[in-house]
């Protein structure tokens, strides 16, 4: 019963949402809108559980003095402070909450994103070592594209930029579309398998 009920709900709701996609009638749109509202309510419940997990994890970490435990204090303080500030003074564009978000959290996120350049450099160094046929092909195509997309490329040969563009638009695009085709079918198959109850890994497998 513990598995039959979720499987039943999944089957009914899955089929109803597929049918809804083909019916533009207001009744159908109203149904979809109601379901999306339910999803928001479910998300709110899930958020309570998730925050509970976050608090429990970091409280335990502080109590047991695990490695880097002071960061857990920062995490708990940050979460509590933002919640209190948001609840008391609101989240309007000029509020303290937004100022903290824009002046502390956004730059921190930007800093992490900026680090990507360094990670790319170290990953590229490893990828471009021509140790196999595939790695050599990768190196050659990367060299063509990089040179072709730089102003320097046209001094190598006037048609070099066009060749680099061809590498991007033809072989690269063809392989991307091949992968996307597989992804589309995999995606549909996964959805159908779950709706029809064939895939039950999310419930711990077969009964």
């Amino acid at each position: 019963m513990k598995r039959k009920i979720p499987l039943g709900i999944c089957l009914i709701m899955g089929i109803m949402m597929i049918i809804q996609f083909f019916i533009p009638h207001p009744v159908s749109l109203g149904f979809a809108s109601t379901i999306y509202k339910w999803v928001i309510v479910l998300m709110a419940f899930a958020l309570v559980l998730a925050i509970g997990n976050l608090i429990r994890h970091h409280t335990l970490k502080i109590r047991k003095r695990k490695e880097d435990w002071p960061y857990s204090i920062v995490t708990l303080f940050g979460m509590t402070a933002m919640a209190v500030i948001g609840l008391i003074w609101g989240v309007d564009p000029d509020s303290l909450y937004q100022r903290i978000f824009l002046n502390i959290l956004a730059p921190l996120g930007g800093t992490m994103f900026a680090l990507l350049a360094y990670y790319m450099a170290s990953a590229a160094y490893r990828a471009f070592r021509a140790r196999s046929l595939e790695a050599t092909l990768l190196l050659i195509s990367a060299f063509i594209v990089m040179i072709g997309f730089m102003p320097f490329g046209q001094y190598v040969h006037t048609r070099f930029p066009a060749f680099a563009e061809w590498v991007m638009q033809v072989p690269n695009m063809a392989s991307q579309r091949g992968i996307l085709l597989g992804v589309a079918f995999g995606s549909i198959a996964t959805a159908l398998k779950i709706i029809l109850g064939i895939e039950r890994s999310w419930l711990g497998g077969k009964e």
Partner: protein, 364 residues
């Protein structure tokens, strides 16, 4: 010139046609007309309507367009009431009206004809799925090629057990409505079963509250199904943050502090993929990645030991569980791809003959 224009009248647009907008929820009437012969000289068009039953009533303005435009949509029609429309040329505030359109009624539709091709495709695919699942159920063996990344899962779990270090499983940064996240949950279930048998520690960090609750249930169910519910720890599955790069920073912190022996990055990823995978690589972790995000695949291929590319991600659950029913569904996927490839070849061949049939693939 301006002086002359003031005394001239301007030709209104012709053939004003009003139609109920197809495949909608009602309340919308689409209008089209032929441009005024004086289109280049005018300021624009004004669209007006009145109820067809009220022949004595005046037309009221419902919208306007710039010159050169030949269509408009009245999104405020009341279903079941016939309306007449006129389109007037406007020049220096003066209107020159067209003949009225035929009375038109808006109504909602019960089937979206623009999605018939999708319906047919889903029906065909579902039939194929049912056929191959039935075939698998009858006990006929189905061949599935070796997927290196999935064959390495056992080795990955064993390595962590031998080293006495945890396994990190990142189920992507997509919420539960991403199919890649759902596929990741299926793989997590299979991986967690092996972890339950090997008695290895597991860390499953989550970006979204719903994926947190789902992954927690998946891991718990996996431990129960292997008969080791007591081995499951609440702390295995964690919620981190919704912030994309905050999440990446937290993963990097986990990798550097807890030094997992094996990292799984399976699901939907964006720009943070390399930040996490490269950190894992530098920390010496054995890494298996899987994503349907074409743009992130090169990063994972570079930084990870094995990468599940695109559809391999969706095949993983079947591959790991070896359940005949799931293996059967893979065959349906393969034949589905074959049909689409044949269609593309035929449609391309037709386009060389100047016969354009690509419209049959268009979805509204």
């Amino acid at each position: 010139m301006t002086f002359l224009l003031i005394f001239l009248s301007f030709l209104p647009p012709t053939d004003v046609i009003a139609r109920d907008k197809p495949n909608d929820a009602g309340s919308t009437i689409s209008l089209s007309w032929n441009l005024s012969a004086d289109d280049a000289l005018i300021d624009g068009y004004v669209i007006m309507k009145r109820e067809a039953s009220d022949q004595a009533g005046e037309y009221s303005k419902i919208g306007s367009t710039i010159r050169g435009v030949m269509a408009f949509e009245d999104e405020n029609a009341q279903d079941g009431i016939p309306y007449e429309y006129v389109v007037a040329v406007i020049k220096n505030g003066e209107l020159f009206e067209s003949a009225p359109s035929e009375p038109t009624v808006s109504s909602p539709q019960v089937f979206h004809t623009g999605r018939t091709n999708v319906l047919i495709a889903i029906a065909v695919f579902t039939l194929m799925l049912a056929y191959f699942v039935a075939k698998a159920r009858s006990g006929k063996g189905l061949f599935i090629r070796k997927i290196a990344g999935l064959a390495a899962v056992e080795e990955a779990v064993g390595r962590a057990t031998e080293m006495g270090k945890p396994i990190l499983y990142v189920p992507g940064l997509g919420d539960i409505d991403w199919t890649a996240t759902i596929a990741s949950m299926n793989i997590l279930g299979e991986v967690a079963k092996k972890i339950a048998l090997y008695d290895t520690a597991l860390i499953v960090p989550n970006r979204w509250s719903v994926t947190y609750t789902v992954s927690k249930e998946v891991v718990k169910e996996a431990f129960i199904s292997e008969g080791r519910p007591e081995k499951f720890k609440e702390d295995y599955v964690r919620y981190l943050t919704e912030a994309q790069f905050g999440f990446a920073a937290a993963i990097n912190g986990i990798i550097m502090r807890e030094k997992p022996a094996t990292n799984f990055f399976v699901g939907r990823f964006w720009a943070e993929s390399l930040i996490m995978a490269e950190t894992g690589s530098q920390a010496g972790s054995f890494q298996i990645a899987g994503t349907d995000s074409v743009l992130q695949l090169p990063f994972f291929v570079t930084a990870c030991d094995y990468t599940l590319m695109g559809e391999e991600l969706y095949a993983a659950s079947a591959y790991l569980s070896r359940e005949p029913l799931l293996l059967g569904s893979l065959k349906a996927q393969d034949y589905g791809k074959l049909i689409v490839l044949l269609m593309l070849i035929f449609l391309t061949a037709f386009s060389f003959l100047n016969i354009n049939l690509l419209g049959i693939l268009r979805v509204q």
